[in-house]
């Protein structure tokens, strides 16, 4: 049995807005094991980024963590003070963001930024940090790292910026790397390269990867286990093969049927009817019931808990057996 690196229990993150609380993450339990690649998948606005950013507590100021615990190496991250958290961020937990275009400081040279975590965490002298930054840049495939480390971010392409981000985030060899849709903003041709880089670094440094995406291709490519989120809830967790071969939750089934590559020729592209619900007043019972083809009266009134169907395959649905 692999060791648990991160254990999230009953996490609720709400956003405070004028119209009320947006229940972005609602009572989510999740375990991530050491050394694995875990994928969070779900449509836009289902709370997957919120869940991921809640781990290093990088949420926007209007977010409220109402309950729960996030145990990372037996430390509850939610109970740490800001300065204790600053020590963990970047050293043990690193985050690669969605948009590399705006994730680098426009007025600092690339080399300085990539070396920054070493200076911040280990008080490495600048000269040494710069040398290791150049090594790190060449590791992520930036050509002429000696010269390019003196460039400012605007001189880099999107792919190079994302590579530099990855170089910066892995410079302290963290144990957990959270990648929040790391390739969404990139060209398709660059996406594969960046994903390969992440996978290589994961093997090399022994990272645990938490990848957030809405792309099943990336899931199949990168992950050991998958968690499917819908409307702030985790609805299904399982091995990547189980999820693809025998999805249990109707939402997961619907999502997989939507993948264009899996469509039989000439058949109409399938879709999930309806739209995702408002997270301010989510539907009662199972949150998916208004869009679910198999909904029963029980689904409208009673919220399904997570049921362990088989080892490591968990689903939140009343009538998963059909």
């Amino acid at each position: 049995m692999p060791r648990t690196l991160l254990s999230i229990k009953d996490l609720r993150v709400y956003y405070e807005t004028i119209r009320g609380y947006v229940k972005a993450v609602d009572s989510v339990d999740l375990e991530i094991y050491e050394g694995e690649s875990f994928c969070l998948i779900g449509e836009t606005g289902c709370g997957k980024s919120t869940l991921a950013l809640a781990i290093p507590r990088l949420l926007p100021p209007n977010a409220r963590i109402l309950s729960g615990s996030i145990m990372f190496k037996n430390i509850d991250l939610l109970k740490l003070s800001d300065s204790e958290l600053e020590e963990i961020r970047g050293r043990d937990i690193a985050v690669v963001f969605q948009n590399p275009m705006s994730s680098l400081n426009p007025v600092l040279r690339i080399g300085l930024q990539v070396g920054e975590p070493l200076v911040a965490h280990f008080k490495t002298p600048w000269r040494e940090a710069l040398i290791s930054a150049i090594k790190q840049l060449s590791r992520v495939g930036i050509p002429d790292p000696h010269l390019r480390s003196k460039d400012y971010p605007h001189a880099f392409s999107g792919g190079m910026k994302q590579r530099s981000m990855i170089a910066m985030m892995t410079s302290c060899k963290p144990s957990l790397l959270i990648a929040d849709e790391p390739t969404t903003a990139l060209d398709v041709t660059i996406q594969a390269q960046v994903l390969r880089l992440i996978r290589e670094l994961k093997e090399e440094y022994g990272l645990t990867l938490l990848l957030i995406t809405h792309n099943f291709g990336i899931v199949a490519e990168m992950c050991d286990r998958v968690g499917v989120m819908y409307a702030g809830k985790l609805v299904e967790v399982g091995n990547v093969i189980d999820i693809f071969e025998s999805p249990l939750h109707p939402y997961t089934k619907g999502l997989i049927e939507c993948v264009i590559a899996r469509r039989k020729s000439k058949s109409r592209l399938s879709q999930i009817p309806g739209a995702p619900p408002s997270l301010i007043n989510p539907p009662g019972g199972c949150r998916f019931h208004p869009r679910c083809l198999y909904a029963t009266s029980r689904c409208t009134s009673e919220e399904p808990g997570l049921i362990e169907v088989s080892r490591k395959h968990i689903v939140a649905c009343h009538n998963y057996v059909r």
Partner: protein, 290 residues
């Protein structure tokens, strides 16, 4: 040394911002005027024909001539020499005031924008209070307490006019703080202090530079005004404001005593304004790429 300078110039002429700046005629005129003032201030010791406090009772209130380019004042001092030495004082004072203003205003703006909430409310309230006060009156009050003198005038003018810096920096901080690279900086474990210092402050520099060029003229005007009123520089300092004040009694008999210091005050203020105007447009990325 010369090679180094020529390389620098080559580098500068390839710089996009600099190229864009060259397309603004106002900016060039401002820069030339300012360069002239700086040149006069730096070389005053060599180009001034007389010393600024050299009294010559035999040649009082002489009109401009070859010997006395700008004429002489009531004590027979050469107005041209005094005006040149005055440039030194005016620029130095303007620079000093702006430094003190930025020193007060920028940190406050950073704190207000970064922490928000109560800190922001408190700092913004003080800023509004200072802003609402008529600056000359407040400066007068402060100089009255501190006593006359150029240093005290610098302090007084800075204390009454740092508010724009706080506002500009606060607004810029607010717009930067929601950008992704600040979250990324927090994600690598940067402390609030180093985020403010290394990530936000450098990004607020362009508006600060523009604001500085726009507040130097008003700083110069305020200090000369206080000197004119007798609170600033004391005789025989060749301060332009003081020269105006001394020449006032002879304005009909010997207008050159007032005209030339006044002209130089105007030109200096104008040069900064023209330069600042052009800089604002050059440094504003919206106008640049929009």
């Amino acid at each position: 040394m010369i090679r180094l300078i020529s390389e620098r110039i080559k580098l500068l002429s390839n710089n996009e911002t600099f190229k864009l700046f060259l397309t603004y005629k106002r900016g060039i005129i401002g820069l030339l005027l300012l360069s002239l003032m700086v040149f006069l201030a730096l070389t005053a010791d060599f180009i001034a024909p007389k010393k600024f406090d050299e009294v010559d009772p035999s040649s009082r209130l002489l009109p401009p001539s070859i010997k006395y380019l700008f004429g002489t004042d009531h004590l027979g001092r050469d107005v041209f020499s005094r005006v040149i030495y005055g440039a030194r004082i005016a620029l130095w004072v303007g620079l000093l005031v702006v430094l003190v203003e930025a020193g007060i205003g920028v940190p406050l703006g950073l704190l207000a924008g970064f922490y928000g909430g109560r800190v922001d409310k408190f700092i913004s309230a003080i800023t509004d209070l200072i802003w609402a006060f008529p600056p000359i009156v407040l400066a007068l009050a402060i100089v009255t307490i501190l006593g006359p003198g150029l240093t005290n005038v610098v302090v007084a003018v800075a204390v009454v006019s740092w508010a724009p810096y706080t506002r500009v920096v606060r607004a810029k901080t607010l717009s930067i703080i929601s950008r992704e690279f600040i979250i990324a900086a927090r994600a690598i474990g940067e402390s609030s202090f180093s985020i403010m210092l290394r990530y936000i402050l450098p990004n607020t520099l362009p508006p600060i530079i523009v604001l500085a060029t726009l507040t130097i003229p008003s700083a110069i005007l305020y200090t000369t005004a206080l000197s004119f009123l007798g609170f600033g520089a004391q005789p025989p300092t060749p301060d332009w404001g003081l020269m105006l004040s001394e020449g006032r009694d002879y304005i009909f008999k010997a207008p050159w005593c007032c005209v030339f210091p006044g002209l130089f005050i105007t030109l200096t203020a104008l040069s900064f304004n023209l330069l600042g105007d052009a800089l604002r447009e050059v440094l504003d990325p919206k106008l640049r790429y929009g």
